[in-house]
Structures are given as structure tokens and as C-alpha cells.
């Protein structure tokens, strides 16, 4: 497996974007498989067994949301949604339906590659669930999952239970966006919309403890209207 290239299925009906994405992927050691319609995508997903799917929401033959549902029924591979800024709500819906992340058009190659990397790693980690991650390090921030300790510049910072749980959740999926709903479901076990405020308050406290201020954010990034994303771990 390790000397094989990752296979990425690109579902996009516009030729120019297709060839652009293909160029970015092949230049960076991935194998790109192209599909221009939802029907093609379904067939190719079955026959090529890709490691990740890059899906444009505006397909000519079917609703992107339906395609996500179909893919989710059969595979557990990550799906990254490619969307225009104006389909904000479609994007959130796609994430709630089981898409794992998104990139907004127009995207740079660095951004696209970062998303793909983070989601492939996240998926791999989920599969090897026998070996839970023990620690997280990014910049000056260190998290010890077992001892439930957070350090910034080697200094330990006290966190409440809930705050630590949220931070740990974000760190375990670092680089990948987590929607409000996902975090709330994982932390509080239900999807009561009243919990959004609880989450927002906890996030504000976490940011304060990590010394994050608008314009000087290093670890936790707000994806407005969607959720939060943690800085990727250094490898």
C-alpha cells in the first residue's frame, strides 16, 4: 500500500477545472481519476475504489447532496466538497450529510493539497483505531491526550473538562473542519441547537487561554457559519 499512490476521484463537470485539479494532483504524487457526471462518479467509485473523493456540488445530472448520500451508504472514504462561496448553506448541508471537508472556489493548490492531506491522514487514523494518538504538537502548543494536559511554550494551561474535550476533539482531527453540529454531538451527545451557544462560550474561553486574538490566530481557526479548524500537526 505504501508505495502505491493515493487514488483521488475528481467529480467535476467543468473541463478547465478538471484539468487544473488533475495537474495539481499528479504533480504532487497522487493519481487522479476524473468523472464529469454523478452517474460516472458512482461507477468509478465502485471500480477504482479511490482513497478520497473531490466533489463539486453543481453537477449536471444530479444533486451533489444526493451523491454524497449514495457514496456514504457504500463507502467510508472521505469526501471533500468543492463549492463556490455563494453556496454557503449547501456546503454546511453537505458536511452534515457526511462530507468530511470543503474547499471554496477559487482555491490555491496549497489549500487544496492541505485539505487532501489532512483528510487522508484523518481517515487513516480512524481505520487504525487500535492505536490511539497519544500527543499532539503544533507550534508552541502541546496536548497530551492520556494525561489530559495542555501546554503552551512548555507552560501547563488549566482547562475545564468540556474545554479540554473540545480542544482534544479538534486536535485529533487537526487540519479538518468540524461543524458546530459535529462538535456538539460528540461533546454533549445530542444535537440540541441550544448547545451552539454553549459551544461558542467554551470556544471563546479556549481561545482566551491559548492567547488567540482576532488578527493573531495561531491554532484554532473559525470557519464562519460552518465550524472550527485546528492547525495541522507538524510531521
Amino acid at each position: 500500500m505504501s508505495n502505491n499512490k493515493y487514488r483521488i476521484l475528481v467529480v467535476e463537470d467543468e473541463r478547465s477545472i478538471n484539468s487544473l485539479v488533475e495537474a495539481i494532483l499528479t504533480a504532487n504524487g497522487y493519481q487522479a481519476i476524473l468523472a464529469q457526471t454523478g452517474a460516472q462518479a458512482q461507477i468509478m467509485a465502485v471500480s477504482f475504489q479511490p482513497d478520497l473523493i473531490l466533489l463539486d456540488l453543481g453537477l449536471p445530472d444530479m444533486d451533489g447532496q444526493d451523491l454524497i448520500r449514495l457514496i456514504r451508504n457504500e463507502f467510508s472514504i472521505p469526501v471533500i466538497v468543492v463549492s463556490a462561496r455563494t453556496d454557503e448553506r449547501d456546503k454546511v448541508k453537505a458536511l452534515d450529510l457526511g462530507a468530511s471537508d470543503y474547499v471554496t472556489k477559487p482555491f490555491g493548490s496549497a489549500e487544496l493539497l492541505a485539505r487532501i492531506r489532512a483528510n487522508l491522514r484523518d481517515c487513516l487514523r480512524n481505520r487504525e483505531s487500535g492505536m490511539p494518538q497519544e500527543a499532539f504538537h503544533a507550534g508552541d502548543l502541546g496536548i497530551d491526550f492520556g494525561k489530559r494536559r495542555v501546554t503552551l511554550l512548555e507552560q501547563e494551561i488549566p482547562f475545564t473538562q468540556t474545554e479540554f474535550n473540545i480542544l482534544a476533539l479538534l486536535a485529533r482531527h487537526a487540519g479538518k473542519v468540524l461543524t458546530h453540529e459535529t462538535v456538539i454531538k460528540t461533546i454533549w451527545g445530542n444535537s440540541d441547537p441550544g448547545n451552539v451557544k454553549k459551544l461558542q462560550v467554551n470556544m471563546a474561553n479556549i481561545r482566551k487561554k491559548l492567547g488567540e486574538t482576532p488578527g493573531a490566530t495561531h491554532y484554532i481557526f473559525t470557519e464562519i457559519g460552518v465550524g472550527y479548524r485546528m492547525l495541522e500537526e507538524e510531521s
Binding site: V196, K197, M203, R207, G215, F221, T222, I224, G225
Partner: protein, 350 residues
């Protein structure tokens, strides 16, 4: 809607009839009856659409006057010339009033249509003007790279490519602004989705987006420490913030400091974007937000190719939120853009 005209006409006729009965019974002044009916018919013609209800009302009025208020009472009698003449008068009033009101309505419709057409033409002209400059630059850079790429130095190639990227970023933002305008003003209806947003998160997201585009212009941020929730469509308000910051970068010549601040004042949140640049020319202040300047006002060498579409988008978004937006020159120099958002959701909104 279909029944509206009918109900108006019917209501007015009944009211007229009742008034006449009362006048007749209490004051015994028969001479007032035709006058009151003429008033009724006039009102019907004025407040219904087209000719139909006016004419129907006048026929009904003639019959009612004939039947109830002229001798013989409560019976039809078409013989007397008096009732014939009054019938002719009423028909004439109806016809002329209906014609006039219909015409006025049509005229104002045509006028509004013309106005809209003019706005659209202005907008189109502004857009094509704005699009042409970056497109020309991108197109030019492409052809240089394709045709003479080999003879250029690495640094030259990189400069051209960086310029292409900058120009296409600009085009993307422009298109996003246009899409927002059409989304908000389509059908005249406003579809904004408010949800409580943390001020700090909004600020962080907007500033980091701006920083990505303009790392050379750091923004000083001044917002309260407290946890503040403001109901808004976060995507749109973020666009307002980025537009205002970008506006400063484009227009505030000699700017050394760019500042964003927000505070809560009573029932509203007040945001401000300030710079210490050249300020806004006084003659532009009054219609800064109304959008597209006429073509005669485009300076020939307008390198910044921005005709204020960004600002008019801001104004559209803020007004759709029930807030206000304003611009002024600071006494100490530079420009200040300020907008407010209501903190509490008004019940009658939507």
C-alpha cells in the same frame, strides 16, 4: 388579490348607499344623493385597477339612484330626463377618472421601469469597465508568457504570474459582490438568514481573510473582551468588513494605519473601519453608497478600476439587516466608515 378590486368597489358602493340613506332619512335632502354617488364612483375609479369596476359602479349607482332615491321610490323609472342626464354625468365622470388614474398608474410604472433600466445600464457599464482592466492585464501577461516566456528571466516571469493572480483574485471578489447584490435584490425581497454570531469569531474570520489578500496592511483590532452575540448573516457581514477594509487599501492614499473596531451601544452593535489616508473627497460623500457613478465621472486613468460597487454592496447588506451605514472624514485626517446592526431581532422582520 383577484378579489381585492371587487371588494373595494363593492364596499364603496355599499357605503355610498348607506350614507345616502342616512342623509335622505335624517336631512331629507334629495339633491345631495347624486353628488354623493358621484363621489362614490370617483373613489371606485380611483382605487380599483382598470376601467371595469369604475363603469360597473357607475351603472350600479345610476340604477340605485333611479331605484331608491328618485320618484317613484323603490321602483325603476327610466322616463324622466333628470335621471337620464344624471346617468350621463356619472358615466362621464367614471370614464374620465378611470382613464386618468389608469394612465397615471401606467406612467409611474413606465417611469419606475425606465429608472430600473437606467440603473441596470449604469451597472453594466460600470462592470464592463471594471472587468476590462484586470482582464486586459491577465490576457496580456498570458500572451507574453506563452510567446516570449523563454526570453524572460525567472523574476520577470514570477512578477507577471503574481500580477495575474492578483488580478484574478480581484475579479473573483467582484463577481462575489455582484452575486450578493443580485441575491439580495432579486424580487425586491430580502432573504437573509440571521443567526447569533460571536463578534470575536466574525472578526477573526474577516481579518484573516483580509490578511491573506493584503499581508502588507496589518489591521489594528479593537473589540470588547466580553462574549458578544450579534444576530446576523455572518457570510454577508464578513463580506461587508472585507469590502470596507479593501476599500481603504484601494482609496486611502498614504495610509499608514488601518483600524477595525466594534462596540455595543444600547440596542445595537457599532462597527467602524478607519484609516489615516487621504480621506474621501467632499463631493463624493453624499452618494458614496448609492453605487455606480455615471460614466462621465470615471477618471480616464482610473487604475484602481473600482467604481464603488463594493460600497453599494455593503449598504445593501446592512440595510437588509435593519442597520445603518455611514461614511465621514475624520477631523484628524483619513476616512471612517461606520455601520450598525440591531442586537435584538425585530419580531416583524423576515
Amino acid at each position: 388579490m383577484k378579489w381585492k378590486n371587487f371588494l373595494i368597489a363593492f364596499g364603496i358602493e355599499i357605503a355610498t348607499f348607506c350614507v345616502c340613506m342616512i342623509v335622505d332619512l335624517l336631512l331629507d335632502m334629495k339633491m345631495l344623493t347624486p353628488m354623493i354617488f358621484i363621489l362614490g364612483v370617483f373613489l371606485v375609479s380611483r382605487y380599483t385597477e382598470g376601467y371595469f369596476y369604475g363603469i360597473a359602479a357607475s351603472i350600479a349607482s345610476v340604477l340605485l339612484v333611479n331605484y331608491a332615491f328618485t320618484f317613484p321610490y323603490f321602483a325603476f323609472d327610466f322616463a324622466p330626463t333628470v335621471s337620464f342626464i344624471s346617468a350621463v354625468c356619472m358615466m362621464t365622470v367614471t370614464f374620465i377618472t378611470s382613464t386618468m388614474t389608469t394612465q397615471i398608474k401606467r406612467q409611474s410604472q413606465v417611469k419606475a421601469e425606465n429608472q430600473r433600466e437606467k440603473m441596470r445600464a449604469n451597472l453594466l457599464r460600470a462592470i464592463s469597465h471594471d472587468l476590462r482592466t484586470p482582464l486586459t492585464s491577465i490576457r496580456g501577461a498570458c500572451s507574453v508568457l506563452l510567446e516570449d516566456g523563454a526570453s524572460l528571466s525567472d523574476a520577470q516571469r514570477r512578477t507577471l504570474l503574481a500580477e495575474m493572480q492578483e488580478n484574478s483574485d480581484w475579479l473573483v471578489r467582484m463577481v462575489e459582490n455582484l452575486l450578493t447584490v443580485t441575491r439580495i435584490s432579486a424580487d425586491g425581497g430580502v432573504k437573509i438568514n440571521k443567526s447569533p454570531v460571536v463578534l470575536e469569531e466574525l472578526t477573526e474570520s474577516a481579518i484573516s481573510k483580509f490578511n491573506k489578500q493584503h499581508p502588507e496592511h496589518p489591521v489594528r483590532v479593537d473589540i470588547p473582551e466580553e462574549f458578544i452575540l450579534i444576530p446576523m448573516d455572518a457570510i454577508l457581514i464578513e463580506q461587508v468588513l472585507v469590502n470596507l477594509l479593501e476599500n481603504a487599501v484601494q482609496h486611502a492614499k498614504g495610509m499608514t494605519e488601518l483600524c477595525f473596531s466594534a462596540k455595543v451601544d444600547g440596542t445595537e452593535a457599532i462597527f467602524a473601519v478607519e484609516d489615516d489616508g487621504a480621506g474621501i473627497p467632499e463631493d463624493r460623500l453624499p452618494n458614496l453608497f448609492s453605487g455606480y457613478l455615471g460614466s462621465e465621472r470615471i477618471p480616464a486613468d482610473n487604475r484602481k478600476h473600482n467604481m464603488g460597487i463594493g460600497l453599494s454592496v455593503c449598504s445593501t447588506i446592512i440595510h437588509a439587516h435593519g442597520g445603518t451605514i455611514s461614511a465621514e472624514n475624520r477631523p484628524e485626517g483619513g476616512a471612517r466608515f461606520r455601520f450598525s446592526l440591531p442586537l435584538e431581532e425585530k419580531k416583524d422582520e423576515q
